[in-house]
């Protein structure tokens, strides 16, 4: 990833209503850089899901965006509880989100499946009690 453009966002875990700031900002940046709209849409949907997950489960975290001529990489890192069973979490409809989060329209068990669906490659590195790191890769060419 030489000469990558790099943008960093703190995802504020205390304020649920602010969730989405990083993905909205990233969407703007990618627009300015002339990334095709369909790819921007995929990136912002996946990144928003990641942000929401970090707010719901991990008290926030770090979102980083790396852009080169032919790839976009989004990394989402938190020091939350980790994912006990990744395979289970990847199933549509599986959710451990509490009731108050469901009342806000989240917790449908679509977070990780959407992130996978809307990325070219997804890597999850998670350890219970330590945290979760997710990489979302997009090929521009």
């Amino acid at each position: 990833m030489n000469e990558a453009l790099h943008y960093h966002f703190d995802v504020d875990g205390a304020n649920f209503s602010n969730a989405g700031r990083a993905s909205v900002e990233t969407k703007k940046l990618l627009r300015q850089l002339g990334v095709p709209p369909e790819i921007i849409r995929r990136i912002s949907v996946a990144m928003y899901e990641g942000e929401i997950n970090m707010v719901i489960h991990a008290h926030g975290g770090d979102a980083d965006v790396y852009i080169t001529e032919d790839t976009v990489l989004i990394t989402l890192k938190d020091v939350g509880p980790g994912i006990r069973d990744v395979e289970e979490a990847m199933k549509e409809g599986f959710s451990t989100a509490p009731e108050n989060i469901r009342a806000l329209g989240f917790g449908a068990g679509m977070g990780l499946p959407n992130m996978k669906r809307y990325s070219d490659e997804m890597h999850i590195d998670t350890k219970v009690g330590v945290g979760t790191s997710i990489e979302l890769w997009y090929h521009l060419k």
């Binding site: 649920f16 993905s23 909205v24 849409r41 912002s44 949907v45 329209g105 449908a108 809307y118």
Partner: protein, 118 residues
């Protein structure tokens, strides 16, 4: 061309925020689970929902829907309205139910297509 304004008139929708009334509507979507909407609503859709919190504004922005229509007479939270104002998102309201609204939107889209063809 079916614009947000035109749909508003046809369906007697109340404007809550209307920063871009000339925006074209190219489809529709109904749903309240935001992740579901994120994954399935398309750019240019009229999105019908009863979810009112400010995450609705974020999802509208990210999916780039043409407008959000609050059904069943629900009113969006203050923060949702503020965020919509800040980011140029059209918000409309109606006392009608989701099912009825979707039927009417679909009808309006078909009528408009028909008009354009003739």
């Amino acid at each position: 061309m079916l614009t947000v304004e035109k749909l508003m008139d046809k369906l007697e929708l109340a404007p809550i925020e209307l920063p871009d009334g000339t925006r074209r509507i190219t489809g529709g979507y109904a749903g309240d689970l935001l992740s579901w909407v994120m994954g399935r609503a398309n750019e240019g859709d009229a999105w019908v929902t009863i979810m009112t919190n400010m995450n609705v504004a974020a999802v509208a922005q990210l999916t780039d829907v043409a407008c959000v229509i609050f059904a069943e007479g629900v009113e969006p939270d203050k923060e949702t309205v503020l965020k919509a104002r800040m980011h140029g998102i059209n918000l409309l309201g109606s006392p009608k139910g989701i099912f009825e609204l979707c039927g009417l939107i679909s009808e309006a889209m078909l009528a408009d297509e028909h008009e354009e063809r003739n």
